[in-house]
Symmetry: C2
Subunit: 411 residues, 2 copies
């Protein structure tokens, strides 16, 4: 078993080949779902998988599935994979690492001449980022059945292009297999991904074993006061929309800390109107993003966020809000989590159990099979930006843990 | 004396003639300094002043001065006036009321066949609003000597047009007189203006007797934290620039209340970067506007505003600030303030002593002569917006108080 090691040079080479597609003039990588850059990256992956002699298929929404047969043709396969699309001006690892790591893990299994009882399938999910079409995790939602293939094909991007039309240009030759997978049809799913936060760095661990994917609630809030002259209006006669919004943003922070249990709350978007330096803010438009690893904590932080809006009344600032979306949290499978820890230990790495605050395809896969994720540390916790980076030894370590994990799960 | 009343219909007609120039397609009035709309409004005023037989002159920066002679040619004249330019999409009263009110007050004096010992001059100051050129109160600053005529003529607007070139198109025929006025050369100055706040409404008074014009300090502040994923970054690992800015904005409010003495503090401009709904704010750019009626209170609120920036350190958010401008407060003259109160009482109106939070030409006039202002109530405290309004009976009352005041001051 000691020979089962991913070739770091080969992994870095594949990542840099993928990174040649979708370079953004404004920095980083812009590889929208089903774009030519997305298709070009996929062709590179297909070539590497084909060189391994795998059977390569695609499903009706464009997910790629490459099968390494097992000795027991009747046993449910183990799946692993991630996505190749990116946010605008994002990094080169969010998505591609889980695909390239899977390819290199299978190459390592081949080099070690390891046979498994269960088949192993590498999956490249389409449209994980919600940047082009109105939602993200499209491919995995079609696999879990949250979205039907018909619903997926009818999605349209901001230019009015349908998913179906975009897929026609992107699609691989040959017949498509159904996207949806029935419970029991897949034995387990594991996804290698960059952490996108600073928890592993803060804990000095090389591997994260993901116990849950946080759910989220996003709410849009409008604060309406009175836009008056900043000099001529005494403090006690003001209805300052910005101060009401400021109290609310700080109350959200307290709410997340008090609720605990991994809950987080963020006001990332906040616009002040009219925005003149000598005019009291008359209106503020803000969006809050609330997350927690389980529904009870998500409900608790959400309830406090809504209750905190009542602060506006003391300032005679009117408040209106509407929920933009809610995504339910997903617990990972204890056996797969423990298997990630064992695989890390086998390779001599320190692992840390943690929640994923970001949403991933593993959230939908958890609805149809035992799932978890392998996280590797993000330098400075940065992600979704050109500076997104993970140290090379951590990239190789993550893929090697994946190889050991696949071997353990596929038996 | 009972006959000394301004004709309300005549005042409303003049205000509506002025309001015919500079209507903005986006609502309200846009009458930039020295623009064709500004010049057109000025021509209307000149025609009304000429009909009174006044001697009309202009100074080297374009201020208009129309003189009603007194019986003692050696006595220093009393000045009154305001401006005709506006902010973009502003109201129809900020400025024009003080000009139209002065014209109608002189018409009332003429109808009442009143002679005064001192001459009375109506002044139309140029460039009071800081919207076109890089600063406001340009005309009165040239009168007080804060700006030399050479400095004024060298100012340039955002399109690069010099004040001198704009003035060439705007200027009245005939030779210009010097702008600067020596101490003692003017006996007193009084300016009729809309309040632009809600103090008179809140106090049930029809007339404001202005005791001081607040000075101001404006500071630009940058908060720099870390733009990270809103889901993947635990609360304790965040460096949220918006929360640091929110604490600061609330601290400014407390500072103004604690300092008291009429101090006010406003964060009117605040921008969040990158501004994504699922990204922790990495940077906030904000501007604060601090005002107080005297230097001691202005210093106190400014010192607290700067000290409050230290809150950022607890969040590991870096803070940098620079002062954009400081305008010193100006005390009005007690004899003129008392004369405003007497004039209001003569007409049977309730007056209220108050500070002007907004800056006016009277601030510079106070540097060279005994000055005060007459405020009339702004409906809902609104100003610098299309909704700027004052009830017609209050407009007429203000101009009638001005007529009585001029008579009292000119003897």
């Amino acid at each position: 078993m000691n020979e089962l090691r991913v070739d770091g040079d080969s992994l870095m080479k594949l990542l840099s080949e993928l990174a040649a597609h979708g370079r953004s003039p404004s920095g980083g990588w812009t590889r929208p779902a089903l774009s030519e850059a997305d298709a070009a990256a996929r062709r590179i992956v297909i070539a590497r998988l084909a060189a391994l002699g795998l059977e390569i298929r695609h499903d009706e929404v464009g997910n790629l599935r490459a099968r390494r047969p097992g000795s027991d043709g009747a046993a449910a396969p183990v799946w692993t994979g991630s996505h190749l699309d990116s946010v605008p001006s994002g990094g080169y690892l969010d998505g591609p690492l889980g695909v390239a790591g899977a390819v290199c893990a299978l190459e390592a299994l081949a080099r070690a001449k390891v046979k498994t009882r269960r088949a192993i399938e590498v999956v490249v999910f389409v449209g994980e980022e919600g940047s082009r079409f109105p939602r993200g995790t499209i491919g995995s939602a079609a696999v879990s059945g949250e979205l039907s293939a018909v619903e997926v094909l009818a999605l349209r991007d901001a230019e009015g292009v349908s998913f179906a039309d975009a897929l026609a240009a992107y699609r691989d030759p040959g017949a498509a297999i159904p996207a949806r997978v029935a419970p029991g049809e897949v034995h387990a799913f594991v996804e290698l991904h960059v952490e996108q936060g600073g928890v592993l760095e803060a804990n000095g661990a090389q591997i994260g074993a993901v116990t849950a994917i946080a759910g989220l609630v996003q709410r849009a809030v409008t604060f309406t006061g009175d836009a008056n002259h900043a000099g001529a209006t005494p403090m006690h006669l003001r209805r300052d929309a910005l101060l009401a919004a400021a109290e609310w943003a700080l109350a959200l922070e307290r709410a997340a800390r008090e609720v605990g249990g991994g809950a987080v709350a963020t006001v990332g978007k906040l616009e002040v109107f009219p925005g003149g330096k000598n005019i009291i803010p008359g209106r503020v438009e803000a969006i809050c993003d609330l997350r927690a690893p389980d529904a009870a904590h998500l409900d608790a932080v959400d309830a406090r966020a809504v209750a905190a809006l009542q602060h506006g009344a003391a300032r005679r600032v009117a408040v209106s809000e509407r929920r933009l979306q809610r995504v339910e949290p997903g617990a990972m499978d204890e056996r797969v989590i423990a298997a990630v820890e064992r695989a890390a230990a086998q390779v001599g790495l320190r692992s840390h159990r943690m929640v994923s605050g970001a949403i991933h395809d593993a959230l939908h896969m958890a609805e149809v099979t035992a799932s978890s994720m392998i996280f590797v540390p993000s330098v400075g916790g940065r992600s979704h930006c050109p500076e997104e980076e993970t140290r090379p030894e951590h990239l190789t370590a993550g893929a090697t843990v994946l190889a050991h994990l696949l071997l353990g799960l596929a038996g």
